[in-house]
Subunit: 366 residues, 2 copies
């Protein structure tokens, strides 16, 4: 148990951008919401997963929609609170704590704003260990937690509650309402007991993102290489270094989809790669078709100078970046996990190979 | 107060097809559902609006979606019951009766299936006096009744409850869920007290459709002209007689939209008209651009031989029909009514002129 204040939020937001793997929404807007709530209501208590009583009720909160939308359609700050309190009324039970739905991107911050405003603790865990584009893609699902009752609220004051036959149907229907609401909503769902949190969440991920964010900050202050710092703390691997030479992006069906191409610099000169994304980066391959990494491992583009992550919606021609890959949580490497978020789910006809194995076999090439 | 059995249902369904003004869904599927429920659970008690106690709770039921969908995606029969009982649980109050949302088309029948199954009375009234494509287009809205809490259920078992900031937002969000659910859902909404029913509903419309249906049946038995019988009972006017020579129709955004063209026969030989529709027929004009009728008046194509209404989704090349227009209820002829369902709402740059006036001024031409 520890207190999270403004300084911690800054580090968590920087690390969350990395764990957003290109998507998850720019944490900047969420960071402002969280800081504002903490300044108004006080610091947030963060609990380790093991500190949550087994029978306590925990409810994740998050934004649903395409990250591109959020740049122009700013939340009014009440949507997430509305969703939370409507769910509470429906359950007819006190909610003990909230927990990030996804630790990557904007959604790392929303739960802090909610926790500060409602004066409740937050749990140091999440359902992704990164960001993913669809709401059934959480380790809570793998652990048998139902997504419904699920509430989405928009900034106009509309509230919708779903009870569905599967977590995939929750995605389909809630996405439709989100698109009809203008492209983004706030959500409360996957109501869990403390025991379920212990069984299904990815533990300590908020602290992990904070460590990554802190490493970037310290590297800047000490004028050392921030990318090296990120790789060290996250356990990631460098895949490529280059300049963005082409970018294709469209917001479609509640997602931002597209691809970016990069040409190599320094030791990667003469080579080029392509990254494809649906909100998040999904697959990176060379011009020759060699696959360097795929989801569920985390593919991230870091700014060469600052070490900060560049999101898919801000990536633009001329950006100089280092592409890294961080191993995903072991929960995603099970049969069910790969079925839910592996490359085949996203339409790529390739098997998932853990990044450590890919690196090892490429090392063997030399 | 009277009992509605299988024979009455047959007549009501035939009349409801006329009052569907081309849309509202083919009553055939709904008729089978209603007859099946009556055979299983017994006849339904129909109350006059004045027989409803002022403080009793009345909830309309209806299908939402494009009529074309229903031909292939048959309801499983439980969606409407699910929607009704979820709403009841949410309200925490007993529901005294149901009432048709729209007396036209399929939606004339659904409430009978629900009433029979749940053993509750039905009220002889509705919110349209016909069929309209969007759910805010009810006289309940004009009378200040809120559409929410609004529940839609699909045949897969998904249930969604909306609380919106306006009845138009209910239309937008519930339509999005309906499309995502495959194009049709069953709905319970516009919870009212008996006093509100008295103030806002269109009274006696079920009996009116029954009278029209009975007139068609009797004309057939007596071998007299069924179209004349419909005109007499409904107070409608003949606009045109012709053959369908062109039809354009697409299912799009939860609606079936399009237009049909007809060339005249008999006394209309040499003339031609065009009818445009969004689920329901909205406007009919001659080839020269003279407007013969617009919504909210009821534009209906009747089969020349049988007098039965031809719906927009079954209309096809070669159909021989008589186009008639029935005056709409006076509630739609108010400023608010015309704003909600007049030709300008549907995108036509013309003023609404009541059909009686149009007929009168055309009579003056001679």
């Amino acid at each position: 148990m520890r207190k999270i204040g403004v300084k911690e939020i800054e580090d968590i937001a920087a690390g969350a951008a990395v764990y957003g793997t290109g998507g998850g929404g720019d944490p900047y807007v969420g960071k402002l919401m969280a800081i504002d709530a903490i300044k108004t209501h006080g610091e947030v208590t963060m609990l380790d997963v093991d500190e949550v009583p087994d029978d306590a009720i925990v409810v994740p909160t998050n934004m649903m929609g395409a990250p591109t939308i959020l740049i122009e359609k700013i939340p009014n700050g009440k949507e997430a609170i509305n969703a939370f309190s409507l769910l509470k009324d429906y359950l007819g039970k006190e909610i003990f704590a909230t927990i990030p739905f996804e630790a990557g991107g904007l959604n790392s911050m929303i739960p802090f704003a909610v926790a500060a405003t409602l004066g409740m603790p937050i749990v140091d865990g999440d359902g992704m260990g990164r960001a993913f584009p669809e709401i059934q893609m959480v380790t809570f699902s793998l652990g048998g937690v139902k997504s419904t009752p699920l509430v989405v609220c928009d900034e106009k004051g509309n509230a919708t509650m779903f009870n569905t036959v599967s977590n995939k149907w929750s995605e389909t229907l809630a996405r439709a309402v989100t698109v009809a609401s203008g492209g983004s909503t706030m959500m409360a769902s996957y109501t869990m007991t403390g025991s379920q949190v212990k069984k299904t969440s990815i533990r300590g991920i908020v602290t992990k993102t904070e460590e990554v964010g802190r490493a970037i900050r310290i590297a800047k202050n000490k004028n050392t290489n921030p990318v090296d710092a990120v790789l060290k703390v996250s356990g990631g691997f460098e895949l490529f270094k280059g300049k963005v030479c082409d970018i294709l992006r469209k917001t479609d069906g509640g997602f931002v989809r597209g691809e970016s191409k990069m040409t190599g610099i320094d030791e990667y000169k003469g080579k080029s790669i392509k990254i494809e994304f649906q909100n998040e980066n999904l697959i990176v391959q060379t011009n020759e078709g060699e696959i360097l990494a795929t989801a569920p491992d985390l593919i991230v583009v870091l700014d060469i100078e600052t070490g900060h992550a560049i999101t898919t919606e801000t990536l633009r021609y001329g950006n100089r970046g280092i592409v890294i890959c961080i191993p995903c949580d072991e929960k995603w490497r099970t049969k069910d996990g790969i079925k839910t978020v592996g490359p085949r789910y996203f339409g790529y006809d390739v098997d998932y190979v853990p990044i450590e194995q890919r690196i090892k076999s490429r090392m063997g090439e030399f």
